[in-house]
Point group: C4
Chain length 213, copies 4
């Protein structure tokens, strides 16, 4: 029964520092993506730079998709922590697992850029889809932990609001599981669905059809 | 009509966290530039390091130009958010598109460093010019969104001040379009114009001729 | 007897800025780990991507272990600076040495990923173990400096709480010394012990058996 | 005479955001240093990893020296901005030039690691020394701009304190010029002097002999 042991409950973790650390990880992960957009080097005499860059379109496409995804997840994280008012030990663990997924995104992105035009394209799309399933699950875990019994929520949101967020989050893992399964059959279709989902989550809530609000 | 849906209007996004995330992206992008200044390796016996470094002047030049450009855009971002007092969903999207351009800058920088002394130099200069056109457009979009009807502005600036900023921003896309078009003809001239524009935007407002204030 | 000389005592260093800089270093170190998870390139025609990725399991394992370790050390740093209320010159030096260890972690991580399946695996595990011994010592040094005579502590923690933290920290160097020595004999066992220790430090205090509280 | 033009004087730049951006750049530059400590790869069968690492000592030495230097410059920056209370346009420019030097440090560091045991070692040491001369000059420029007529200082420091800092800063460029000139003759001696200067600047003011206080 030492104060240290009781500390987290009496003097909770700092939401501000959790946000600062998370902002750092999001900002670095989103900025590192450009490192996988390679400058064409050692071109044969007969190849023009413009042609070499056009042929490298998958790496630009992968860069844009992952930038959009991490950017939108940062917006979601931002929005969540306008509602979450306190932090406890388990919230830091959930947030850490979420950031694990975020820092991993540059890897499947590079994988897609390398393999999108090759026979292994479905493997690459499955790794990307699987990463997003993981991220969607961690967002749900973090939210459920914070919202169960309003454990870590402030007063800004009423019960209907909490249910609306839970509903909107619950579709995430299912939707990204579809991109994962679609990757087994058709990699470009799976990547296209990823982009659609990013666009969906980028919409402000009032533009969504009522069941998804 | 859930509170979540209404949330962004009643409890707006946090300007502080938008700034923290943006500062992170600016800081990382500006620091990653050094990764493209390569240490000369595996020099032939007869080549001195000093000569190898002199021959690599384009990578130092590209480093300095991009450092200056990102640094000055950070100063502009800083200045804008002394005036913008509230954030909404669309502002975060505009800011995200602006940061997309910022994180992209290291790529055309490396392209210039690699191709400035080769026949493809104009392609490289066009990619750099195009990136800056995009950035200038995003600065305008962000500002127009915030300033239309003073939607997101605080009280610090009067109408004449708003018009002065709008005017000074409006020349950006046109000016950078010139660097883009100049690149079609003469790559070094295009890069020189880029540097001039960076210097122009680094000047404090009171040193500018009246029409550009 | 200049004010500058006396400054640190009259106007102490800013804990907020120390935290911001530390958060930056932790966030970057944890995000850079992904750079050592390499995309398989130039695979022979007969090798499938999935097989190449399975064969590269050590780099995923090393990524996860180091992510967990840095993440948990960030949580510990966070928890410490809820208790430490003031900063002085020596605290900044101790914190700098701690961050030196944190920024170094990606190196032994890459070493493990490269050598875990080769005869030199024990050398790699010793470098990792040695890094963690160093980190555990720096955590102790920082804490001892801050807690001796409650020099830099606020009022939130009583004497029993201070002793509890000192006790829990004191086992760190000894435990990581064991992983270092175990590496001399058996590299996988040493890495496994590292993971166990990370899990141990991730537990909230109330779940620990009384002597370790 | 638009408000925009007058803005910087009526509503000065934010010291907080200048610090946040600077902290980001310092944190990234110091963390990127590890990327130049390379994992030995493709060793010949007869070479043990431990021997390969010992032979690579210059890269560890360079890592430690640059970590210490950037860390201590961060501490100095931190200390300066406890005294500087306001920001203006020119301060942001000086700070930007200072950060330019900081982001450049990883390059001469890698240069030293590569060439310290080769005939070109003096060239590498001169680049490092020149970088530090530049940094020392920028620290002086920033300080002089802020302190002249107490333009940007708060009330915390009296005139004697201002003079003490000016005096202690003024020796920086001269001392680093010596490391630069020493590099022309003897590279290891120049690097050793660099380390001594880092240690000197890491000392708390009260331990310095009176003329340097």
């Amino acid at each position: 029964m030492t104060p240290h042991q009781e500390g987290p409950r009496r003097e909770p973790y700092s939401i501000q520092r959790l946000e600062a650390f998370s902002d750092g990880v999001f900002a670095i992960a989103i900025t590192l993506l450009i490192l996988d957009v390679r400058v064409p080097r050692d071109l044969p005499q007969t190849t023009r730079l413009a042609d070499a860059m056009l042929a490298a379109w998958p790496s630009y496409f992968a860069f844009l998709t992952s930038f959009a995804t991490i950017g939108i997840m940062w917006m979601n994280h931002h929005r969540l922590f306008r509602i979450i008012a306190r932090a406890d030990h388990a919230l830091l663990i959930w947030n850490g697992l979420l950031l694990l997924g975020i820092t991993f995104v540059p890897f499947p992105t590079a994988l897609i850029a390398e393999y999108i035009q090759r026979p292994d394209q479905r493997t690459a799309a499955m790794v990307l889809g699987g990463t997003y399933v993981f991220l969607a699950l961690m967002f749900n875990g973090l939210w459920w932990h914070a919202a169960r019994g309003r454990r870590l929520l402030g007063e800004a949101l009423d019960e209907a609001g909490v249910r609306a967020i839970s509903r909107s989050y619950a579709i995430g893992p299912a939707a990204y599981l579809m991109t994962f399964l679609l990757a087994l059959v058709n990699a470009p279709a799976s990547l296209g669905l990823n982009l659609l989902l990013a666009a969906f989550y980028a919409l402000p809530a009032r533009l969504l059809p009522r069941p998804f609000r």
